[in-house]
Amino acid sequence: MSESLAYQLHVNGEARDVADAWVGESLLYVLRERLGLMGSKGACEQGECGSCSVLVDGSLVCSCLVLAASATGEAIVTIEGVAPPGAPSDVQPAFVDAGAVQCGFCTPGLIMAAHALLDQSPDPSEYEIREALSGNVCRCTGYGRIIDAVQRVAVGRRGTA
């Protein structure tokens, strides 16, 4: 490709170099295909399904809608980094225990969205959970066990507050 770029992204606390990239690559594409972080998924590439959700400077964002080369200088957190070593996520085991995972394709995006919700609103009502996660489509579970998982985390955090 003639229009190639080199730049640096900050992902999961590390500086990562990107070289020989085509300018039109999305952040989702670069995370997956250039940085080897396959956890974020592409299911629509239109920002409709939330499978590609990452945190950019603390905000939940669809990485399929971000031009990778424009995300330099921002702190990007993916599913691979949402629970740093030594600080395991309580959201991840809750999803497994509650039966909130079937095929698992929507799961990384949902975990990111759940983290973002609970960071902002530690004790959400069921309606608040539904609204905050309404940007994440799941085709397998019918959402019931996912809501249960998020509620379990909220209850668990209450206990340790």
């Binding site: 085509w22 956890g39 599913i79 509650a98 394709f105 799941c138 019918g142 509620q151």
Partner: protein, 763 residues
């Protein structure tokens, strides 16, 4: 604040676990970490990207293809068309009528015409845009009625009627005191699995074979079709299951498999193809749109005397499994009700619309919407309520289908209805306890007026066949090895998210008394497991794993018996030990199997089934499951907005091997049923797809999902190897008519089409 009321006891999940436990998934940790490899996550050194060029026309002659401009683009390594298919030019599940690449004619918008391999997806896009295909547009056959009346010339050498089946049962001239009829229509639903089509093909050096990593529903059937098109023997094509991001029927047919292999063999390099969402909408089969006329004759007290019906399923451009979908539809005309007389005419036809095939429910969704709509009309005509009319006609074990087949399965229809009726109605008034406008139909749109909202209640009850029919022997294979107290299980069963990998371990632990189970990679190095469809894997692949484990257990007991001079028939598994049921011996399985390996492979077959004769008579189905749904909806009649508030259900499951997994299938299936009822439809105009994206193909979100209140009817099925019936399809079948019935109840108007659109409610 309310939480979903769960009647299904699933609290207290366990890791590992035996039959009956709500065991957590063995791949769950990987999946929540983002470490689980879906087929689109797989790569290989030196790989190329592949992409597909598709027809923009529903029907056209190809008069020329010019590849020269595409070849000039730097980074393009291969371009292939129909001329480059070395083996069989066509493929297909029942008849091989579908070309790998179109030659001379394209028959639907999206039909593959060529494919490229290049160094970057963007190079691929530019190459596809540079390929010039000269088309001569032909008149498109769009209206399925014209496929039957002969007014449109054949659009395929196999003709425009894929299958016609009649059913004549008893004396269909008999009538009753009451007659109700209707013309019902279902739009085209899409499976919309999230894990987009993706494959990795790695060619053998010298090109004598290829390895394919693929997300699919049936490895061996794929392999057979792929090998034929590649002109290779089956065993030169090795398939490994890449992680599957949902299926729901859309992965039963070949989509990108042959293309990926062809490009790999042509370039001598690994090739990855990954569809985008728009391409996915065009690239796989969909649920058959249907037009169904039904007429029920009944006695004054609401008992069915005769049903007349006509089914017209639009199969689109290629046959796929339309033949089998039609048979499912027509043989389920009567629903879970006694019906002594019937006359049914069913057609599956070919048009230039998108090809249709398997989607969860497989023809029975269509029949159920019609028969449940009819049952409500019958209730109204007889002055009965919807529950009473269904109880009065409810089938039981020993009754017959209109095909003459006796229902030998456990058939607790009455129980499903009664137990659903006993589940509590939502205690929330319209708008919720806190009168929150966000809880009204339309939610955040804040357009509904609480004083206008009407609440309705509606019912749907279904029968669904399990496993394959009409003489098809869809067996499954599994291998069990035990060494040093560890069981290793091998199968080719496609795990698509439904949780077979979970119960496989539960079966092994229960039968063998081991805690540690290892699952080997899912690939074609063992015999076929059949398709992950037709609600069949728990029964068939569960039966295969159970059978293989039992054979190993026999070997185990034989060993212990010989070692301790005890008749092996006295031995049993207790915890992780082998015990003598008539003595004191207790020895750990791990100890008995230390330093040795026990090994067995088992094929599980279900009993044979028959073809249908020209009157649709024959024992064509294997077994059946039943379910009831009750829906509560709130409707704004002026705006046509619907909020599905609650769905209650009692489902006939035989035995819940993993209650948490069963609940997952129930809630997930209900979501798809709700979707078909109120929002999901692929809209085609003159063969062109108007909404191949998630903006305009509406999927239920967490805000759309109703509360689900579920209870399980567990009467163990004697024909099933573990007493358990399949559970995947029933939830999506009668939930749709229940929602529509609830909307009718709310607005006092008839509705005859799904999905119900706001305009259907308002005008």
């Amino acid at each position: 604040m309310s939480s979903p009321v769960i009647e299904v006891p699933t609290r207290g999940t366990v890791v590992g676990g035996r039959l009956g436990d709500s065991a957590t998934r063995p791949d769950g940790v990987e999946k929540v970490q983002g470490a689980f490899a879906f087929s689109g996550d797989l790569s290989a050194d030196g790989f190329l990207w592949g992409a597909t060029l598709r027809s923009p026309h529903p029907h056209a002659r190809i008069t020329g293809i010019d590849l020269s401009a595409a070849w000039k683009i730097s980074g393009v390594e291969a371009i292939i068309t129909a001329d480059d298919v070395p083996g069989k030019a066509t493929y297909g599940l029942i008849s091989q009528d579908q070309p790998v690449f179109a030659r001379d004619v394209v028959r639907y918008v999206g039909e593959p015409v060529a494919a490229v391999a290049a160094d970057h997806p963007e190079t691929c896009r530019r190459a596809l845009a540079a390929i010039v295909v000269h088309y001569e547009v032909l008149p498109a056959l769009i209206d399925p009625e014209r496929a039957i009346d002969g007014s449109h010339p054949p659009i395929h050498p196999d003709g425009n009627v894929i299958r016609h089946q009649r059913i004549v049962c008893g004396d269909p001239t008999l009538t009753g005191d009451v007659v109700v009829e209707g013309d019902y229509e279902l739009g085209m639903q899409d499976q919309a699995f999230l894990g987009l089509e993706a494959a990795l093909a790695v060619p053998d050096p010298g090109g004598a074979g290829v390895e394919l990593f693929i997300a699919t529903q049936w490895l061996h059937e794929d392999r057979h079709q792929i090998a034929a098109c590649l002109g290779l023997p089956d065993d030169a094509v090795r398939l490994t299951l890449g992680g599957v991001g949902g299926a729901f029927g859309a992965r039963e047919d070949i989509s990108l498999q042959v293309h990926t292999c062809l490009l790999a063999l042509r370039t001598g390099r690994p090739v990855r193809i990954a569809y985008n969402r728009e391409e996915s909408f065009l690239g796989h089969v969909h649920r058959h749109p249907a037009r169904i006329h039904m007429r029920h004759h009944a006695t004054a007290d609401g008992r069915i005397v005769t049903i007349e019906a006509r089914f017209l399923l639009d199969g689109g451009a290629y046959a796929s499994t339309s033949s089998a979908v039609l048979i499912n539809a027509v043989t389920h005309t009567q629903g879970p009700y006694r019906c002594p007389n019937a006359l049914v005419d069913g057609y599956a036809v070919r048009t230039n619309n998108l090809p249709c095939g398997a989607m969860r429910g497989f023809g029975v969704v269509q029949a159920c919407f019609a028969h449940e709509s009819q049952m409500d009309k019958l209730a109204a005509a007889c002055g009965l309520d919807p529950v009473e009319v269904r109880l009065r006609n409810a089938m039981a074990t020993g009754d017959r289908l209109i095909t003459g087949q006796v229902i030998e399965s456990v058939a607790p229809v009455e129980r499903c209805i009664r137990e659903t009726a006993e589940l509590p109605l939502p205690d929330e008034p319209v708008g919720g306890h806190d009168d929150d406008p966000m809880r009204l139909p339309g939610g955040a749109g804040l357009t509904a007026d609480r004083s206008h909202i009407r609440r309705g209640i509606g019912w749907g009850v279904a029968i669904k066949n399990l496993m394959y029919s009409e003489g098809f022997d869809d067996f499954s294979t599994a291998r069990c090895r035990v060494a040093d107290g560890v069981a290793t299980i091998k199968f080719a069963t496609s795990e698509v998210g439904q949780g077979f990998v979970t119960i496989a371990g539960q079966i092994a632990r229960s039968v063998l008394g081991v805690d540690h189970v290892v699952l080997e990679p899912i690939d074609t190095s063992i015999g076929s497991a059949g398709s992950t469809s037709a609600s069949r894997q728990t029964w068939m692949s569960g039966g295969a794993v159970d059978g293989a484990c039992r054979l190993v257990r026999e070997q185990l007991f034989g060993l212990v018996g010989a070692q301790h001079d005890i008749d092996p028939l006295r031995l049993a598994i207790d915890g992780t030990d082998v015990v003598d049921t008539m003595g004191d011996l207790r020895v750990a399985v791990a100890e008995v199997t230390a330093g040795r390996e026990l090994d067995a492979t088992f094929e599980h077959h279900h009993r044979p089934t028959e073809d249908l004769d020209e009157n649709g008579q024959g024992n064509c189905h294997t077994a059946f499951a039943f379910v009831a749904h009750r829906a509560v909806v709130d409707v704004d009649p002026e705006l046509g907005l619907v909020k599905v508030v609650q769905i209650a259900t009692a489902q006939d499951v035989g035995r819940a091997l993993n209650p948490l997994s069963v609940l997952g299938q129930i809630e997930g299936g209900i979501a798809q049923g709700v979707g078909l009822a109120v929002m999901e439809e692929i809209i085609q105009v003159d063969g062109r797809v108007r909404n191949p994206n998630f903006t305009d193909y509406l999927l239920p979100t967490m805000l759309d999902m109703p509360v689900v209140v579920a209870t399980l009817v567990e009467e163990p099925e004697p024909m099933a190897p573990l007493g358990a019936k399949g559970v995947g399809e029933p939830p999506t079948i009668s939930s749709t008519p229940a929602v529509v019935a609830a909307i009718r109840d709310a607005i006092g108007k008839d509705l005859v089409r799904v999905p119900v659109r706001p305009s259907d409610i308002v005008f």
